[in-house]
Symmetry: C2
Subunit: 396 residues, 2 copies
């Protein structure tokens, strides 16, 4: 039998997927599971976007431009400009989700064996894109004690080698919920310029900033134009995860020209999803106001609820819709499995994502879990009760 | 300024794209261009597919299964079974176009520096996927004199090294239009088993076989299960290039499990496009009968028209919707540019794809062009007149 590649064999499995068989077995037993483990929001997709697809008048579903609809990129540039991200449509390549934008970015800036520094814990699929691109992820640890704020810049500097091509951040962060301050972003910009490396920012949770905090983009820094690559996506912003539309944005002409060659090889991003995404740009502000209000109250409920459980520490998130909690258990992986295999209260249980899978350094974050507040408050309340009772039972 | 990767710099530009600036300049001058250079059919997308998207009742556009809708895969397996391709839904991974299926296949079976043997001329974007995967393409030349039939098997054997992971074919072929015989496919299967390598077949033009010829799939060979990987796509079959839906099919469980890790990293294929693709499977046979009839008559018109031009040789295609013609010019690249820059008849000209870009061996096929018969017969007739007059003028 012919052999699988070493690359394929070393492709990491998502830490979230690992629990799926246990969840399926629990569902088979008739158990109800509150799924706090995934970033699939229950928020309704804007009507504008869904209607635009309903009203399509396509007769021949042909390829679109490899960089995406010109009309969409133009409107997107206008949206960014309002967010203090001054770009034009030639500086935007529409991709099949933020995932493809990350793959294009890695291919554009790094060769096999090159290194990208990422503050950990980080979005687990970065591991998959890195493996697939042959890139080595070099983690720099951020800590629950400081809410996962940016690690001291000297920690980054210690890790920079001739193979370092970029620093990659997720802002606001998945899985941490941490929103970097303008000061922190400027520190990163400085180091990127000093060492002549790229600063790649995954800003897909841009609109999810709470308590009046403002998101500050790497694209807003004069002088960083040639170093900055922004990754974006409609998935979370408009609750359109299934569209698979994102984009790569850079004012570095060489980056765009190179990423375009990757884009042309795969011909074009999906047409129906572009129609939805273009229409989504006219979603009224009231939609976002309601969404932010909903997430803020969910976060408040979740964080205070977790803090009230004995032995639980939470890093208070001010962005995105995740938080990391340290539990009074030795191994959150075992606990998460136990929740699905053994625990139940009135035939209900909760599913959380063990956080160790979001760390690149072995044996880190072993007692931590990521909780996504993507369920309505009533379900979050019930989940908190279940978690509290589960911890009691587990530690008996 | 930070450097672009060596990989990014060496990403090939599509041979078709190269002419686009010349075409744009010609259009600016008010010239009408008959575009025979690209594989974008003018055939209408089945109404079933377009209507299914119009009638969607989605409220939250969420991620689908990473392998695609289970319902879609089930129906797809039933379609394949009717084509003597016995697979079940667990052996199918829905991808974002055939492009992504090829990337998953390369990542699954080959590491950086590994080799894949491909009969040339071949679909130019294989170069992009290979570069992006770090894979080396080893060409084996097929010749216009034999209609681009399979090169003798001993030519493949000469090229097999310990780094050879697969033979990749496109059947029916883009850009050749050649449909491999059952005998040829069985020869390839034998050599794949003998050397314990994969046989990857891009079968996206499966349904386009003319003159009563039957497509024979690599999936139809008992004993080849662990070596065979099939690539498919809805793009050409249903004139749905903009959907971006394809699939990777294999009965090798390890291949599927590994490709699934690539699929999970990018979360899911596009939802709206899956709705369209699933519905497309209920397109009535009459649609395909009409399409095949149309393409057959276009091919007949084009081939006999080309043969009637002095100095032109054509490889008669019996599949897909391309043919390669050798022209009485030294350099088809220069000629194709000249067609756009200099030539006009009543302010009209034609655009063809120089074939050298489909060869991996330098200085091969220099006098050849690929012509796609994706335009209606009236336009093909006019294109033939233009081409004939252009050759006359060019060779004066």
């Amino acid at each position: 039998m012919p052999k699988i590649s070493a690359k394929g064999s070393s492709m990491p499995e998502s830490p979230i997927r690992k629990l799926v068989p246990y969840a399926e077995a629990a569902i088979k037993k008739g158990r109800k599971i509150y799924q706090l483990n995934i970033g699939q929001p229950d928020i309704k997709t804007p009507k504008q976007a869904l209607d635009a697809v309903r009203n399509h008048d396509i007769e021949v579903l042909s390829y679109s431009h490899s960089a995406g609809f010109a009309s969409y990129r133009k409107k997107l540039a206008a949206y960014y400009s309002k967010r203090n991200i001054p770009v034009n449509r030639e500086e935007i390549i529409i991709t099949t989700g933020g995932s493809e934008a990350l793959l294009f970015a890695m291919g554009t800036i790094a060769d096999a064996g090159d290194e990208i520094i990422i503050p950990e814990p980080f979005y687990a699929n970065y591991n998959g894109f890195a493996t697939s691109s042959g890139v080595k992820i070099v983690p720099v640890e951020s800590k629950i004690e400081t809410n996962f704020a940016l690690p001291p810049i000297k920690e980054f500097e210690k890790l920079i080698t001739p193979k370092t091509k970029a620093i990659l951040i997720c802002n606001p962060g998945n899985p941490t919920g941490y929103l970097y301050t303008e000061e922190e972003i400027k520190q990163l910009a400085e180091i990127a310029i000093k060492y002549d490396i790229f600063l790649v920012a995954d800003e897909v949770y841009r609109e999810f900033a709470y308590d009046g905090a403002k998101h500050f983009s790497i694209m807003s820094i004069p002088g960083l134009e040639n170093n900055a690559i922004m990754i974006d996506s409609v998935s979370k912003q408009y609750s359109m995860c299934g569209a698979r539309i994102g984009c790569l944005v850079s004012r570095n002409k060489e980056v765009i020209a190179t990423a375009m060659k990757f884009a042309q090889a795969r011909l074009s991003p999906p047409t129906f999803a572009q129609i939805a995404s273009e229409a989504a740009l006219s979603t009224p502000q009231s939609y976002f106001d309601e969404v932010i209000e909903e997430y803020t109250s969910r976060r408040n409920l979740l964080v205070s609820g977790l803090e009230a459980i004995e032995g639980v520490t939470v890093a208070r998130p001010n962005g995105a819709f995740y938080c990391i909690a340290a539990l009074p258990v030795k191994n959150a992986d075992d606990f998460a499995k136990w929740l699905l295999e053994e625990f139940q209260l009135d035939n209900e249980t909760v599913m959380v994502a063990p956080a160790a899978g979001f760390y690149s350094t072995p044996n880190t974050g072993l007692n931590q879990v990521r909780i996504a507040y993507v369920l309505k408050k009533e379900d979050l309340k019930r989940s908190l009760v279940l978690l509290k009772e589960a911890l009691k039972a587990y530690n008996k």
